[in-house]
């Protein structure tokens, strides 16, 4: 019954708001048919003969082809970084700062091009890559540029020194932004870098290599090798790498931590999450609805800190769910390059299969599924915004990270119960609280075992604001003053 009502409402909404297509132009973007590796400031022919295609997940069209770097390639990259370290770490800090400022400026200048490439390669809506990913990446470089010649003020009474070559492996959900989170603090502190972008989203990193050349960054300070897990493992394991930074799944994070045991390498991990987004009865309901939607459907839910568990106070569960379901019916799913699109393509076939499997498990375990009426394009990888009610804490959909547009709804009666349920997870990356009461925000924030707590907002990021997890969500922080610490030795 309820569903029919929602369908009708959604139909009505579609009649009232008739969206004309508003595609972003791709004319100004030039994607090479194939890319080599970026080592020592140059594009070099790889030793590895293996290449793989990167496709547009919204169309399954081949965009370009990159190298699957092998041991020899990774070794070359680390050597180049090692050679560059000597002069880069001794360069006047104010000069290092200038290079980073330059990079930040070029990112701003080329923002539109980068946004389009990010959307084509990864499937995220253009309005997100345009308004979130690229501006934040530029801001991150700008922020850390300013630290390069102020490190002694960051760590009073200590002598911060760079570590050497940092090996960095980043995920596919925010390709350029994660690159910025990794490279900017490393370079500011005087380290050099070998970075491996994710296999499904290498293109913005390829453009970034071009930006390094444009900024005349000294050769070898940034090296970019493409590949899949194997290449990442080679980067991490290379004896010349002194510091490893990884963002990705908890499963792979544990493998890396295990594999680095006894090597003396410094390690930071930013891993998975299963964040609780907690809505109290006094919360401004409409704002909370938008926050819930942003929390889990932003970037198709491909967000490690996504608010994938909605904890709603029992007294308002019914009206809230009613409104939420209506809102889901108005989300526009489709061409990621369309400026009106809310939900883009799932990043890969593999991820789509994983999401599908998890949703099936939810249904099997007895949760109640809701999906708004939603036509999925025929080609490409798509998944409709999904919501589960009648979820028990023991269900897989309430315990495991799905990394897709799937929300599990649970209820609570008292603040103490909300805290207990929110913390009942091995993860601890983020949490959300919605309430009108400031003292309750701080009471909740104090009790939640999570690295980031958003109150009356969600999925908000800023270069000055440290980000990272408790428990199995990893260790170390990225962003802010704390984001420098993983890249310095303190004497």
């Amino acid at each position: 019954m309820a569903i029919t009502k929602h369908r009708r409402a959604a139909e009505l909404a579609k009649q009232v708001f008739d969206y004309a297509p508003a595609p972003e132009s791709i004319d100004h973007v030039k994607i090479e048919p194939r890319y080599n590796l970026f080592i020592g400031g140059k594009w070099v022919t790889a030793h590895s003969k293996k290449r793989f295609a990167t496709i547009n997940p919204a169309t399954e069209e081949r965009l370009s082809e990159v190298v699957e770097a092998d041991e020899v390639d990774v070794d070359r990259a680390v050597r180049a970084a090692d050679r560059a370290f000597d002069s880069w770490s001794r360069l006047a800090p104010a000069r290092r700062a200038r290079y980073l400022f330059r990079i930040s400026r070029i990112l701003q200048e080329r923002a539109r091009e980068l946004a389009v490439v990010e959307t084509m390669d990864g499937g995220k809506p253009i309005k997100e890559s345009r308004d979130v990913d690229i501006p934040l990446a530029a801001a991150h470089f700008f922020y850390y540029a300013g630290w390069a010649d102020k490190l002694e003020w960051a760590f009073p009474n200590r002598k911060p020194r760079p570590l050497g070559v940092a090996g960095q492996v980043i995920p596919w959900n925010f390709p350029l932004l994660m690159l910025a989170w990794k490279i900017a603090p490393a370079l500011a502190a005087g380290n050099t870098v070998v970075l491996k972008p994710a296999e499904t989203t290498p293109l913005s990193a390829m453009l970034f290599a071009d930006i390094c050349q444009q900024a005349e960054l000294p050769p070898g300070v940034v090296n970019i090798v493409t590949g899949a897990g194997k290449t990442g493992s080679l980067v991490v394991q290379h004896p010349g790498v002194k510091k490893v930074a990884f963002t990705g799944s908890t499963e792979v994070g544990k493998l890396i931590q295990r594999s680095l045991a006894g090597t003396g390498k410094r390690l930071t991990l930013e891993l998975g999450g299963k964040a609780a987004n907690i809505v109290f009865e006094d919360a401004p309901l409409d704002a909370a609805i938008e926050g819930i939607v942003n929390g889990i459907y932003f970037n198709q839910g491909h967000v490690c800190c996504a608010g994938s568990r909605l904890l709603v106070q029992e007294s308002i569960a019914e009206p809230l769910l009613e409104k939420l379901k209506l809102r889901l019916g108005t989300l526009r799913l489709g061409d990621p390059l369309d400026k009106n699109t809310d939900i883009g393509a799932i990043n890969s076939k593999a991820q789509l299969d994983k999401i599908t499997g998890m949703v099936e498990s939810g249904v099997e375990e007895g949760a109640e599924l809701f999906q708004p009426e939603c036509r999925l394009p025929e080609r490409g990888f798509w998944f409709p915004p999904t919501l589960f009610t009648n979820v028990s804490q023991s269900y897989r959909i309430a315990r495991e990270e799905i990394f897709g547009p799937v929300l599990s709804v649970l209820t609570f009666r008292t603040p103490a119960e909300a805290v207990e349920k929110a913390n009942n997870t091995p993860y601890g990356l983020s949490a959300g609280v919605w309430t009108d009461k400031g003292s309750r925000i701080l009471w909740m924030a104090e009790r939640m075992r999570a690295g980031v707590v958003w109150a009356n907002t969600f999925n908000r990021f800023d270069p000055t604001s440290p980000f990272g997890g408790y428990k199995e969500s990893g260790f170390g922080r990225e962003g802010g003053l704390h984001g420098l610490l993983p890249y310095v030795e303190l004497n």
Binding site: V453, N456, T464, E472, G480, L490
Partner: protein
């Protein structure tokens, strides 16, 4: 004729024999309880139980209790000099241990000011970062300077509000076991500090792998032991602390902490 002391483990605020009934001998005649995997588990359980209460104390209260530990240790100076083998080196080490407790007693209420931040984010949010204790910390204490070396790790871990399970150095467990007597009379709530003695090869991998331990300080481990602990630690993404033995700094305290960032809305 002397009344000889039976050394015991310190678990949950009580001095207990090893549940295994086993002991091993150091220094000729002295029997030391040889803690088992179950003793270790009991200690971790006690530490977990004590964690919310200790973390919830005011910073000043934790500071006063750490200071009290310095007072109690100072009062038993001659006993510790004897346990450490006597002489000027031993006296200096006791002095260092007292100093270390006092130094960290003064850090409890300054840590958040020195390692926390407010962050000028773009948007109507008051954004701040504060250190919070990570939880239960395992400390493998060093055989070198067995008293001062231990205090240099226990004090910063406790300072931030963590609870602690100490694994005493296998060859020199007496200073750690004797320190437990000081801590037992220093107003630390039961379970905040637990001291286990025994063989590293029987206990270390369990400490590294235990799912209810948040961090391990490997100060007293050999290179091979560090590798083994690090491998086991990956099971629940434990923090492994490898700071130099002599380090005393707010960053060392922070290595036992998690940084929490809160976005608080601004509006009318």
């Amino acid at each position: 004729m002397d009344v000889r002391k039976t050394y015991k483990l310190f678990v949950g605020g009580e001095f207990v024999r090893s549940e295994s009934g086993r002991a091993y001998r150091v220094d000729g005649a002295v029997n030391v309880p040889r803690g088992s995997r179950k003793d270790l588990r009991d200690a971790i359980k006690a530490a977990r139980g004590a964690f919310p209460g200790w973390a919830g104390r005011t910073a000043m209260n934790r500071g006063q209790i750490l200071y009290r530990a310095a007072e109690m240790l100072d009062g038993r100076r001659s006993q510790f000099v004897e346990v450490l083998g006597g002489g000027r080196a031993a006296a200096r080490e006791v002095e260092q241990a007292v100093d270390t407790f006092v130094w960290y007693a003064g850090w409890t209420d300054k840590l958040a000011q020195v390692t926390g931040n407010t962050n000028p984010v773009a948007g109507p949010y008051f954004n701040f970062t504060i250190p919070e204790p990570t939880g239960v910390v395992g400390i493998v204490s060093p055989a070198e300077s067995p008293l001062a070396g231990l205090v240099r790790r226990v004090a910063p871990a406790l300072c931030g509000g963590n609870t602690v399970v100490v694994l005493a150095p296998e060859a020199a467990p007496l200073p750690a076991l004797t320190l437990a007597e000081v801590l037992a009379t220093s107003d630390f709530p039961a379970g905040v500090i637990n001291v286990i003695a025994g063989y590293h090869r029987e206990l270390l991998s369990w400490l590294g792998a235990h799912m209810d331990v948040n961090a391990v300080d490997v100060c007293g481990c050999t290179a091979e032991e560090i590798a083994a602990v690090e491998k086991a630690a990956a099971e629940n993404v434990k923090r492994v602390i490898k700071a130099p033995a002599g380090e005393m700094s707010p960053q060392l305290i922070a290595s036992f902490m998690e940084m929490k960032t809160v976005w608080h809305p601004i509006g009318v």
